[in-house]
Symmetry: C2
Subunit: 206 residues, 2 copies
DNA sequence: TGAAGAATCGATCATATGATCGATTTATGG
DNA sequence: CCATAAATCGATCATATGATCGATTCTTCA
C-alpha cells in the first residue's frame, strides 16, 4: 500500500480540470447528483481535497463545469443539422440512431443530463444551459418533421413542434431507465414513425 | 412569539403520520428530494424533531411513507379500468384528461413522483413501488390501444405497448417541466392521437 | 542554477444533519 | 381521580461535508 515508484505528481496546465469534470460526471451517474461529494471526486482523480479546491473553487463551480462539458460532449455526437434537400425519413432515423448510439456508448451523458436536471434546483446557474439544450434538441426534430411534411413523406397534418416533443419525451424516458430497458427503444420509435408517415396506398403519387 | 392560548397539543392516533407525510411531500416538491431535511418536515408540521422521530423512526421510513401515500393518491384520481365495451378514443381522452387534471389540481403528485424517482438510488425500498406503478399506468394505455385497434378506431398496425410507452413518455415530460409549460400539453396529445387514428376516408365504413 | 510561481498536501474549522436519551406533559380508562 | 401509556420536547451526540490555511514540493525559465 505504499506509493508506487513512478507517481508523476504535478500535472501542469488545465488538464486537471478535465479530469475532475470527468470524475465528477462518473460519480454523478453512479450515485446520483444528490450523493455527489467533493471528497469522492478528489479521491477518484487521485488528488487531495485541497488540490481539488485549488482547481475548482467551489462545489457550485464543479457542477457548472460538469454541465458544460457534458452538454458539449453530447452535442458533438449529433449528426449534421437537418437539411431540406435530404429525405426526411432517413434524417429522422439518423437523428434517433445517433441518440441511441449515445445511450449505448456514452450512456453517462444522458444519465448525467437527467441528474443535472435535478441539480438545477440547487444550482440555478445551470438551468439556462439545460433549457437551451433541450429546446435546441427538440428544434432539430421539429425541423426534420417540417421538412418531411413538405416532402410529403409525413402526414400533411403533422404539427412539427408538438410531434417533436412527443419524440423527445418518449426517447428521453430511455435515458432515465437503466440499461436493459433499452430493448423497447426501437419498437417505440417504430411506433412513432408509423404514426408520422403519410398513408401511401400502393405507392402511387398524386 | 409566545405560544398561542389554544394550542391543542397532543394529537392521538395515527393522524400525525398523515400530517408528516403531507408535509414531507410538500417539501420534496418545493425543494427537491435532495434537499429534504427531517428538521424541515418537523417544523412544517409544527412539532419537534424528536416527536417527528417518534412517529416516523428514520428518514428512510419517511421516504417510504411518502412514496406509499403519493402513489395511492395518484391512483385514486384515475378513471375506471379500460373496458372493451366503450369507444376507445373516448377512453383514451378520458384517461389523458384525468392525468391533465391531476397536473392542474394536484401537481404535487406528479412532481413528487419525479423526485421519488431520484430518491430510488438512496432508498432501494421504494424502487419496486415505482416500477409497479409505472408498469401499471402504461398497461392501462396499452389496454385502451388494444381495444381501439380491435374496434377499428386505431391503426391496424398499432403496437399497444410501444404506443403506450410513447404516450406515457411524452406526457410524463410535462410532470417535470414547471407549470406554464403546460400549454403544449394538448397540442402534444392531439398529435399523438392523429398518429394513432385509422385513416377513415370520407367517414364511410367497410 | 536559483528564484518565482504553480500544484499538492495534511490539518483543521464551521456547520448541517440524522439520530438518541431522559424528562415532562397530556389524554384516557378503570 | 389517578395510574398508565402515548405524545411531546430540549439537549446532545456522532458524523458528514464543504471550505480554508499554511507549509511543502515540483516545474519553469531567465
Amino acid at each position: 500500500m505504499e506509493k508506487s515508484t513512478s507517481l508523476q505528481h504535478y500535472v501542469r496546465g488545465p488538464h486537471r480540470r478535465g479530469e475532475i469534470a470527468k470524475a465528477a460526471r462518473t460519480l454523478i451517474v453512479e450515485k446520483g447528483y444528490a450523493a455527489l461529494r467533493t471528497r469522492d471526486v478528489a479521491e477518484r482523480v487521485g488528488i487531495s481535497l485541497s488540490t481539488m479546491h485549488f482547481h475548482v473553487a467551489t462545489k457550485s463551480d464543479l457542477v457548472a463545469l460538469v454541465a458544460e462539458t457534458t452538454m458539449d460532449a453530447f452535442l458533438s455526437l449529433l449528426p449534421p443539422a437537418p437539411s431540406p434537400d435530404m429525405p426526411a425519413q432517413k434524417q429522422l432515423r439518423t437523428e434517433v440512431q445517433a441518440y441511441y448510439d449515445s445511450l449505448l456508448e456514452h450512456g453517462e451523458l444522458a444519465a448525467c443530463y437527467v441528474q443535472l436536471t435535478q441539480a438545477a434546483s440547487d444550482e440555478p446557474r445551470i438551468r439556462p444551459m439545460l433549457e437551451a439544450f433541450e429546446q435546441g434538441w427538440s428544434q432539430r426534430f421539429a425541423d426534420i418533421l417540417h421538412i418531411g411534411r413538405e416532402q410529403g413523406v409525413f402526414r400533411a397534418n403533422v404539427s412539427p413542434l408538438p410531434a417533436a416533443l412527443v419524440i423527445t419525451g418518449a426517447l428521453t424516458a430511455f435515458g432515465t431507465r437503466g440499461p436493459g430497458k433499452l430493448e423497447m427503444f426501437w419498437p417505440v420509435f417504430d411506433e412513432i414513425e408509423r404514426g408520422l408517415l403519410a398513408i401511401d396506398p400502393k405507392g402511387k403519387d398524386t
